[in-house]
């Protein structure tokens, strides 16, 4: 099959179809949508991390002009607006603790920002004013404010549970063998890393508008969501509203990064209160509110030990994670650390592997998926530990990696990893070779030495990371084995319209990834039509009833493949019609660049777009063939996909101030075949900066009473253009064996590679001081303190 227009099909750098609406302000995000008679919801949020609600006095708020109602959690519980707590879809063990998480706390609060009462008013400002007039009296309980405090298990985040431990989950087939490997090791390292809590901070805050149809009992929910399909199912299960009466629309969505893949209190409140009031109900979180109203990411203490022989070849890896669940289990909270569990050996062969994760409750905002979800944590731990092992063995970071790459760095397919899953394909050495060359690491090392010899204030550091990640979620059976409640398939419909245009219905749901463009390119190549003739419908459960949405770098490797397969089914049906017209056998009809012709007589041909009307009119179809050209596919992938790559970070550290400047970044990624390299590069750029931001700038800071102290963007340091360099990218291509397009995934790869590369660079710069580790974020204060301490200053 060929591409009709070489500038438009698979592999071309086609400019995005989405852009026009977004650069002109035409695109409609949730907060842009207004409905006559709408009510503005305002949330009264807990100012205490752990407390019993003694009383709530809403009398003053209820008297305010424009205020229609104020409801406390206890009142809402009595109204029976919901039939179940907010859902957790991933109970990772049979005995996992899962305290009920109600949309509004009925009697006890478990984190700052938990909703204790809801205001409905007729204006944005009126709702905000009324919230301020609600007086809540709390009786404080001891708050669990850190992972260490949770693990100590003296104070309890949920007093009823009697423990903070939520679950223990392990891959540990041969603990004695692992221990024996450590006993016999020539070298070993033991590391403790903290994955600090992060605020996802998609630029569009979350928001909802629920629009009821009182007579029919239907409700439409507009939500800034990555997961409208999952939200519809879960909203039905939580509210008891029949599923077919709920329609969810995710309009233009301004980024997600995992933060918009949950089932949130506000979504359930908007649906149920809109139905109760018979009026539309809306809410948009403020940025500062989001620290308590939207889940956070990371939050792990990691203990990783490596054992090796005298040459630095790994003999065992043992990992223990203490993972901060926060106050409640949200949609996939408990499973996030496990998404990394299969990857703590990274791109390296090891005879022995042991992984244990314990989940712990704290009185902090719940955690859940954030770009990479478990894999950046894993890649950080192994890639930092490998650098530490390289110091121990006395070889370079690149050499320790080469000695341990799976299959000696040579290409492989279907490699069974020690955690029990099969990597689809990989070829790691070329990404390292290319990254070293692109960054001119040899030249950088010479400059580094020169600065060290000269004793310059600004020292250079060079950091490496070769990552592998697991994406393309996922084979449904594998998810079932992990106790995840849903499947991992994706659905697509392709229809050839009467006028020859193509309508694609996508079950995956974009929020910046450019699906409309990439899916059009797949159709262009497969069907031989112009991408301008393709429209992609998505993110509305009425238009696209089946789907499992966008997260975990799954859209292309599952959803894009489904679209390709549905297009092939349309072509096969069209072939029958063409054969009928040609009075030829279908097997003699060839399809090339959009046209059907009989083998050997190319002069007689018909373009597939002409058959749209033939199938629609149905005047002369083969006997028994149904009218219309529309086919659908639910693709359930046989395996995950495992993208990989090598990144090199270059930092300059001012030893007087401790300031770290990321001055160069070189990324060589392999995501298999690419549909649109322009979009792929963009995903890498953004992902790299998000990981670098964890390394250098971002942390959600909680005080000892579990109050978040930096909830606004004034204090939570999302980097600007001034803090980051341009990113140099290149790619190798090792097609996936998991799907017929040979594609993997790239949405999270940058983030998975970059935090480790940047911190490895920071430590590399500081090694002459004897410094071997640096906590994230590597703030100027931390760097200065480390230098002072290393110099013997009693800091």
């Amino acid at each position: 099959m060929t591409i009709t227009d070489e500038n438009a099909g698979i592999g071309s750098r086609m400019l995005r179809k989405e852009d026009g609406a977004l650069v002109t302000g035409e695109a409609k995000f949730v907060d842009d949508i207004h409905v006559p008679g709408e009510l503005w919801m305002g949330m009264v949020r807990s100012t205490a991390a752990h407390a019993r609600i003694v009383s709530i006095d809403a009398s003053a708020a209820k008297e305010m002009p424009g205020v229609e109602a104020v409801h406390t959690g206890a009142e809402l519980a009595a109204m029976e607006l919901w039939v179940a707590p907010l859902p957790c879809a991933w109970p990772v063990t049979d005995d996992m603790a899962n305290p009920p998480h109600w949309p509004v706390a009925p009697d006890t609060v478990h984190h700052v920002g938990e909703i204790v009462a809801v205001v409905l008013a007729d204006s944005r400002y009126g709702a905000a004013d009324a919230v301020e007039q609600v007086v809540v009296e709390y009786e404080s309980l001891a708050a669990v404010a850190s992972i260490d405090q949770a693990v100590a298990d003296t104070d309890h985040a949920h007093t009823d549970l009697g423990t903070n431990k939520a679950y223990t989950w392990a891959i540990d087939e041969d603990p004695e063998g692992t221990q024996a490997a450590f006993d016999a090791a020539a070298h070993s390292v033991t590391c403790r890393f903290e994955q600090q809590r992060l605020i996802p901070a998609a630029m569009e805050p979350r928001g909802v508008v629920a629009v009821p149809s009182p007579m029919g009992g239907d409700v439409t929910l507009y939500s800034a969501s990555q997961v409208p399909h999952i939200l519809k199912v879960m909203a039905a299960a939580t509210t008891g509203i029949p599923e077919q009466k709920i329609r969810v629309i995710a309009p233009a969505v301004g980024g997600g990064f995992g933060a918009k893949l949950n089932i949130n209190p506000d979504e359930i409140l908007a649906i149920t209160l809109a139905n109760r009031m018979g009026r539309a109900v809306r809410w948009t979180e403020s940025r500062t509110e989001a620290a308590g109203s939207t889940h956070q990411g990371r939050g792990q203490m990691q203990y990783i030990e490596l054992a090796s022989d005298s040459d630095g070849r790994l003999t065992a890896i043992r990992v223990k994670i203490d993972a901060d669940m926060g106050a409640y289990m949200m949609l996939i909270t408990p499973g996030v650390p496990l998404l990394g569990s299969f990857l703590y050996h990274g791109v390296y062969e090891t005879p022995k592997f042991s992984f244990t994760c314990e989940g712990w409750f704290t009185n902090r905002t719940p955690t859940d998926a954030y770009r990479g979800a478990g894999r950046p944590e894993a890649s950080y731990a192994i890639e930092r530990a490998m650098d530490m092992l390289s110091y121990e063995v006395g070889i370079s970071p690149e050499e320790i990696r080469r000695r341990n790459y799976i299959n000696g760095g040579e290409p492989f397919e279907m490699w069974e990893n020690p955690a029990g899953i099969s990597f689809d394909s990989g070829h790691y050495s070329p990404t390292l070779d290319r990254a070293l060359e692109m960054a001119d690491v040899a030249g950088l090392r010479a400059e580094q030495q020169r600065r060290r010899d000269a004793g310059e204030v600004k020292q250079l550091g060079i950091g490496l990371c070769t990552y592998v990640e697991i994406c393309g979620l996922a084979p449904s059976r594998a998810l079932g084995g992990l106790k995840y409640a849903a499947g991992g398939w994706e659905h697509a419909t392709v229809r050839l319209l009467p006028t020859g245009k193509v309508e694609v219905v996508s079950g995956s749901t974009p929020h910046g990834q450019g699906h409309e463009t990439s899916w059009s390119q797949i159709i262009a190549t497969k069907m031989g039509v112009s991408p301008d003739d393709v429209t992609v419908l998505h993110s509305d459960t009425a238009l696209s009833p089946l789907g499992l949405d966008t997260y975990g770098s799954r859209s292309l490797a599952v959803g894009g493949v489904a679209i390709s397969m549905a297009a092939e089914k349309v072509i096969e049906k069209a072939r029958l019609i063409a054969a009928h017209q040609f009075e030829a056998a279908p097997e003699d009809v060839e399809f090339e660049a959009g046209s059907f012709s009989v083998a050997g007589t190319p002069s007689k041909s018909v373009h597939i777009q002409e058959l749209g009307f033939v199938a629609f009119a149905a005047h002369d179809l083969p006997d028994g063939l149904e009218p219309n050209l529309q086919e659908q596919v639910s693709f359930d992938p046989p395996n995950f996909a495992f993208p990989f790559g090598t990144h090199v970070a270059v930092v300059e550290i001012d030893e007087d101030t401790g300031g770290v400047d990321l001055i160069g970044y070189f990324a060589v990624d392999d995501c298999g075949n690419q549909i649109n390299p322009l979009i792929v590069e963009g995903q890498v750029h953004g992902g790299v900066v998000q990981g670098a931001a964890q390394a250098l700038y971002e942390v959600a800071v909680y005080d000892d009473q579990a109050n978040i102290t930096n909830p606004s963007l004034m204090d939570y340091l999302v980097p600007s253009a001034a803090e980051v360099p341009s990113i140099s990218t290149d790619f190798t291509c090792t097609p996936s064996t998991t799907n017929p397009l040979g594609v993997k995934g790239v949405g999270e790869a940058g983030t998975i590679g970059s935090a480790a590369a940047v911190i490895n660079a920071v430590v590399d710069a500081l090694r002459p001081h004897g410094i071997t580790d640096m906590a994230m974020p590597a703030s100027p204060m931390r760097v200065r303190q480390a230098i002072e301490a290393a110099k013997g200053g009693a800091s």
Binding site: L15, R16, E18, D19, G20, A21, L22, V23, T24, G25, E26, A27, K28, F29, D31, D32, R124, Y125, A201, A202, M203, E204, P205, A252, V253, G254, G255, F257, T284, S286, R287, T288, H511, G512, Q513, G514, L678, I679, E681, G682, H685, G686, G687, V688, V689, Q690, S712, L713, M714, V718, S720, A721, A722, V724, S726, I727, G750
Partner: protein
């Protein structure tokens, strides 16, 4: 409308508007909720993100940081007023550059980013990469890592990144 409402007149994208607003009404809320121009987005509550950047008398300003009453008599341009869509295609060169360079993904920061960039180039015509990066410090993007945004602005300035 509350008793303390104030009458203001301002010009937005070449059209004059007479509004009655509370004195505390933020300009961005007046533009979005009163005039209905929703292209100007809100990304924070601390004047940090720049998603709400507009042009006030030709200069970039964060519309969450101005009261509507402060815009009395001002000539305002929002993202909806930048393209000349009445004469066909008509994207402003900065909008076109963002499209050509893939300078946006989710597009939420984009209106503010484009207007800040327009204003930046008006003020400094001869910027290099570092100048563009420093000049856009007040506008946050979570998707692009800024790489292609910087490229777009340099391209609009007639320079290759």
């Amino acid at each position: 409308m509350p008793a303390n409402a104030v009458r203001i007149s301002l010009s937005v994208n070449g059209r004059s508007h007479d509004l009655e607003v509370e004195p505390r009404t933020l300009l961005v809320h007046a533009l979005r909720d009163e005039i209905g121009l929703t292209g100007t987005n809100i990304g924070c509550d601390s004047s940090s993100c720049g998603a709400c950047t507009i042009l006030v008398d030709g200069q970039s300003a964060k519309s969450c940081t101005m009261l509507a009453v402060q815009a009395e008599g001002c000539d305002i341009t929002t993202i909806e007023g930048l393209a000349d869509t009445t004469d066909g295609d008509g994207l402003h060169p900065m909008q076109e550059a963002f499209h050509q360079c893939h300078g946006l993904q989710c597009g939420y920061c984009t209106p503010g980013m484009i207007l800040a960039s327009v204003s930046l180039l008006e003020e400094y015509s001869d910027l290099d990469e570092q100048g563009v990066r420093a000049g856009l410090e007040g506008n946050l993007c979570r998707c692009t890592g800024y790489h292609n945004i910087v490229k777009a602005v340099l391209s609009a300035a007639g320079k290759e990144a």
